[in-house]
Homo-oligomer: 207 residues x 2
DNA sequence: GTGTGACTGTGAATGTATTAACAGTAGATT
DNA sequence: AATCTACTGTTAATACATTCACAGTCACAC
């Protein structure tokens, strides 16, 4: 599997395919044609076939795609067939909300250690997770074997935190802090900027 | 201004330009070249010039772009130069977190009326905002003159809620519910799917 | 004034993503 | 067994986005 020639947009659709397939599986549907899958996804059938064919030939002319099999295959591709433990930095309003969100668990993610710099929070347990001092990152994090992290902290000194996470083996980061963070070599950062989304909507709705 | 020929990616960058320009303004910088702006944005200088030139000629060969002027121009383009009031559906963990988030206010957005179906919450006031019954949407919402809404509720009956919002003049929606919602004619929906983002990161970090 | 250097705005070139179109195939039908 | 139908996987065509590269412009030096 040559990752470099998978279109980024296709990657973003993969998780949606999986979600749609999970629903079909729940409904007892055994197999599905690109046509129907496209309809459920809101894309063209050609797009579906193209997306899937990048990873192999899973379809069958007579029956289409096997729902259970394809669901499993996409899960393995995404790496979400096994539970992954994430680290989180910042246990403020957002951090606490994310901690109690069940949607992550359902899709193979689990927030493990949480780090903050506020002494009020350090040592306490929230939603079953212990809050550690950000100063203890190097001693605590390795025990959890995390490959991914969530940033839900303040913006000051963010680059330093990212560098430390990278040194500790974190390969990818979901960042809620609305400021530019330059990814260290080999680290992927996905930014979630809600205000930017609202601004985009504001622009579009003027059209 | 012909909106149809503005690349979507450019729209998404507009809010980031504005943020960068706000920082420059704060630092007392009067004008800036595409080069420097590109550096701060993490894109190429050609991209910056192309993006801005779509909306007009704001630059000056000798001084580059006027920081204050461009900041204002982008604000007007995005429609965030005036405060906009949003409606929100769902006052759960996420809804409450968003209500208290200061970042929205800072960028010209204000959550006004909040609707829920839980009688425990209806009538109460959270962070200065009254929670109304979702059944009273038609009577309450018009008073607030909202053009945008946030969905932070459960997934059942979502299409019906979206249809009602559309009928009441909502033009665009920020949706946190992880299921496909088909936008009614003339309504824009931006989906925020955090699990999908994590799955994307999981895939990329296997490369 | 004339020359120099550095910039913007943009046409042309390239790169990336989507859609159209069809060859090849397998089951169903006569 | 020959024909028909409807599908997948893929090649070719199109659309969309970014980058290159340069003509035209302005400020400044001499
Ligand atoms: N709350 C929201 O709805 C929302 C929405 C979008 C983005 N965000 C962003 O997410 C981040 C967190 O938001 P919040 O509302 O939870 O803020 P918050 O102030 O409630 O919490 C921030 C937490 O991070 C901790 N923190 C700050 N700097 C730290 C550091 N260097 N190391 C460790 N811990 C640190 C603080 O002690 C605090 O506990 C902010 O950057 C915010 O802009 C929040
Ligand atoms: N909590 C998170 O961190 C998080 C992250 C990403 C996405 N989401 C999504 O956001 C949504 C809300 O999440 P949450 O954690 O706040 O859930 P929650 O259960 O805490 O709150 C949901 C709220 O919505 C209300 N509600 C449900 N259906 C409604 C309807 N039809 N009309 C009006 N109100 C309705 C409920 O009464 C409840 O108050 C969910 O769809 C969830 O999947 C949540």
């Amino acid at each position: 599997m040559d990752f470099s020639k998978v279109p980024l947009q296709t990657v973003e659709r993969l998780s949606r395919y999986r979600r749609v397939l999970a629903d079909l599986q729940e409904d007892g549907v055994e197999s599905v044609f690109s046509h129907r899958l496209a309809e459920l996804m809101g894309v063209t059938p050609a797009q579906v076939r193209r997306d899937l064919s990048i990873f192999g030939s899973f379809g069958n002319v007579a029956r289409g795609y096997d729902v259970v099999e394809l669901h499993g295959t996409i899960g393995r591709l995404l790496g979400t067939d096994k539970l992954q433990t994430l680290a989180m930095i910042g246990l403020g309003n957002l951090g606490r909300t994310l901690l109690t969100y069940r949607g992550f668990q359902e899709r193979g993610f689990h927030i493990g250690p949480v780090f903050d710099r506020d002494s009020e929070k350090i040592g306490k347990v929230y939603a079953g997770r212990r809050c550690y001092s950000i100063d203890d990152l190097e001693t605590v994090l390795p025990d959890f074997k995390c490959k991914m992290a969530i940033l839900a902290c303040g913006s000051s000194g963010l680059d330093a935190i990212v560098a430390r996470l990278a040194d500790l083996g974190i390969r990818s980061i979901l960042n809620f802090v609305p400021c530019r963070v330059i990814p260290p070599q080999g680290v992927f950062i996905e930014n979630v900027d809600l205000s930017a989304k609202l601004e985009k909507l504001s622009f579009l709705s003027k059209a």
